[in-house]
């Protein structure tokens, strides 16, 4: 059993939201979404209605609606459950979006790991075409035609980033683009495009079925409504839960049976580690935000193991465009391994932290910007976990230290060279071949 409490989507009748939306003018559809306060559920939390408004305003013939079903953040599986249980709500949400911005084509970017759902989703699409809810003249509306097709991913976490996703759809390596321009202006095939998360689109259908006031009535001022959470790790009842925004982490842990946790990763590998003295925090954009991943670590877990696992993930998944992200993640990983052996000096630890801080500001996309987060949280909140070198060093240790700070210097050096080259080449779109 993956679904653990009452999920609103289970009570929303198919096509109720879509039919209600199609009775309104596109402009007022967008206003309703803005009114509801819905914020993107893919992680960044950008207000969905505002995104749609930009796309509606943008000039361009072939606008596209993309459903981001690349769900790759470690510890996230709520989109899988939504697609498996309520695919109609997701397709309806895409159709409402298309109507609102004037798009005629839709694409679901489905991660390769979810290929086993493809057949079921295709069948659902076909049923919707048969029922007149997809294709030409949807629900009898003369001037509204829209269809959806499914495009398979090929195993790359970074393709969940919206501009990398678009590159991938265009048959290229999934390397994030410079932004601006944002996809709402220049997206898929250079036309205005909206990319929305699976869950965001399902909430759109629910909002039109139940009214935007209903949604706005729940949650907090800056994070209205409800959110699905994927809970895994050291809990008695792992699975998908729904909570209103603003629910405290301790309430969530209680529901899942993980109260005695030593730490909780909120937001997956790119989120932060919350220590027990902050379990009273609220899950919402104004306190601790998340795309829905909650991973719980019990008393006996070694948090350096956790940081190592996440850093391996990022070293593997970095697209390689930015030196600071490509090499920084490798250096952090090496540093964590040194720490586990008790080989890390205070100086080296400090260097690693400042490398992490540089990665947060100098990386081009969210992957690099967030990749040092968990490591930095361990250093900040769980410094006791890091076995350290004695302060007095013998000669061997000095060499070791010199070696490791040289490693750091080499990253800094490479980064500088890279930045210089980038400056000299600014404007040209350079693409390397191997990551």
């Amino acid at each position: 059993m993956t679904i653990r409490n009452t999920i609103t989507f289970a009570s929303i009748p198919t096509d109720k939201g879509l039919k209600a939306a199609l009775e309104k003018e596109p402009k007022s559809v967008i206003n309703d979404v803005i009114e509801s306060g819905l914020r993107g559920c893919g992680g960044a939390g950008f207000p969905t209605g505002i995104k749609w408004k930009f796309a509606a305003k943008a000039e361009g013939a072939q606008k596209t609606v993309i459903c981001n079903a690349d769900e790759g953040e470690p510890g996230t599986f709520k989109d899988r459950v939504i697609l498996a249980e309520w695919p109609d709500l997701v397709f309806e949400g895409m159709t409402i979006a298309a109507y609102a911005i004037g798009a005629s084509s839709g694409i679901v970017y489905l991660r390769a790991e979810y290929a086993y759902m493809r057949k079921m989703l295709e069948e659902c699409l076909e049923k919707r075409r048969q029922a007149g809810m997809l294709g030409a003249k949807i629900a009898g509306k003369e001037d509204f035609s829209f269809d959806i097709h499914i495009h398979m991913g090929s195993g790359a976490y970074v393709c969940g980033e919206e501009s990398a996703l678009i590159e991938s759809l265009e048959g290229k390596r999934g390397e994030p683009r410079n932004r601006p321009p944002f996809p709402v202006e220049i997206g898929y095939e250079n036309a205005p495009t909206i990319v929305n998360n699976v869950e965001s689109l399902a909430w759109v259908s629910a909002i039109f079925a139940n009214g935007s006031k209903w949604f706005k009535g729940a949650g907090t001022k800056e994070s209205p409504g409800y959110k699905l959470m994927s809970i895994s790790g050291d809990v008695k009842l792992p699975g998908v839960y729904e909570f209103p925004f603003g629910t405290t982490l301790s309430t969530i842990l209680e529901a899942a049976g993980g109260e005695d946790a030593k730490a909780v990763a909120v937001g997956g590998a790119s989120g932060t580690l919350v220590p027990p003295n902050n379990f009273a925090c609220k899950i919402c954009f104004e306190d601790v935000p998340t795309g829905g991943s909650i991973i719980v670590f019990g008393k006996n877990r070694n948090l350096l193991d956790v940081a190592e696992n996440f850093q391996e993930f990022f070293a593997d998944e970095s697209c390689g465009q930015c030196t600071i992200c490509r090499l920084g993640n490798v250096k952090l990983l090496e540093g964590i391994r040194l720490m586990k052996q008790g080989q890390c000096t205070d100086q080296h630890l400090e260097d690693l932290c400042s490398l992490g801080a540089s990665m947060q500001i100098a990386s081009k996309c969210g992957l690099g910007q967030t990749s040092p987060n968990v490591f930095l949280s361990v250093v900040k909140h769980f410094r006791d976990e890091i076995p350290r070198h004695p302060v007095a060093e013998n000669d061997d240790q000095k060499t070791e230290k010199a070696k490791s700070s040289n490693l750091f210097q080499s990253v800094v050096q490479l980064f500088r060279t890279d930045a210089d080259t980038a400056k000299n080449n600014s404007g040209t779109n350079k693409k390397g071949v191997s990551a």
């Binding site: 993956t2 769900e71 790759g72 953040e73 470690p74 510890g75 996230t76 599986f77 989109d79 899988r80 991660r111 390769a112 790991e113 979810y114 290929a115 086993y116 495009h151 398979m152 991913g153 090929s154 195993g155 790359a156 976490y157 991938s168 759809l169 265009e170 048959g171 290229k172 390596r173 999934g174 095939e189 994927s230 809970i231 895994s232 790790g233 050291d234 792992p238 699975g239 998908v240 990763a265 590998a269 991973i295 670590f297 877990r301 193991d305 956790v306 696992n309 996440f310 391996e312 993930f313 593997d316 998944e317 697209c319 693409k431 071949v433 191997s434 990551a435």
Partner: protein
């Protein structure tokens, strides 16, 4: 046999080496022509075409890379660049059944190490390798969205959760059985 010429004019980068094709390449070429017919003769078709070749033939060889490049009007290096980017296209060990075990944190905490050890023992190969009979390849993968039910793994497109050593035996037996049945079906 050798009269076929690609619909698109050959680019300067590809000399007329296709006139003398072995049978396997000739049939691959026809297959690619068909796939391009379905997915369209443009750059957007590149990944779907590669995915299809990969799933039918287990890997995309250099002939296929060059031919797809010519048909879609891009360089072979770009095709290779795309293949090397995506983990589901680039893996270099291919079995009829590709086993990918999740190594990410939740599965890690659910003792994926025990499952990894068991798989290596049962198959007699390490991660990144293929069994000598070409039946099974073994690889790591990152989170596959089954974190509440770890340890989790994929066999081709199929997902298995709460994997135990006992379940591994069933999974491997199941694969062998499927293979034998398919063989019978063919002959």
């Amino acid at each position: 046999m050798f009269t076929h010429s690609p619909k698109q004019q050959r680019s300067a980068s590809s000399p007329d080496t296709f006139e003398v094709l072995d049978e396997a390449s000739a049939s691959l070429r026809d297959e690619i022509d068909e796939l391009i017919e379905i997915h369209g003769e443009n750059r957007n078709a590149l990944i779907p075409v590669l995915q299809e070749i990969r799933s039918r033939h287990a890997f995309v060889n250099s002939f296929a890379m060059q031919y797809v490049a010519d048909r879609l009007g891009v360089s072979a290096a770009e095709v290779y660049g795309v293949i090397s980017f995506y983990s589901f296209l680039k893996e270099s060990n291919y079995g009829k059944f590709a086993i990918s075990l999740c190594r990410t944190i939740s599965c890690d905490m659910a003792d994926k190490a025990r499952i990894a050890k068991c798989l290596q023992e049962k198959l007699g190969v390490k991660f990144g390798e293929t069994t000598p009979d070409g039946m099974f390849s073994l690889n790591w993968t990152n989170c596959i969205g089954m974190c509440d039910q770890g340890p989790a793994l994929l066999v081709n497109e199929q997902v298995f959760t709460h994997v135990t050593p006992k379940k591994i035996k069933e999974i491997l037996d199941g694969c062998r059985k499927t293979y034998q049945e398919n063989e019978k079906g063919v002959s």
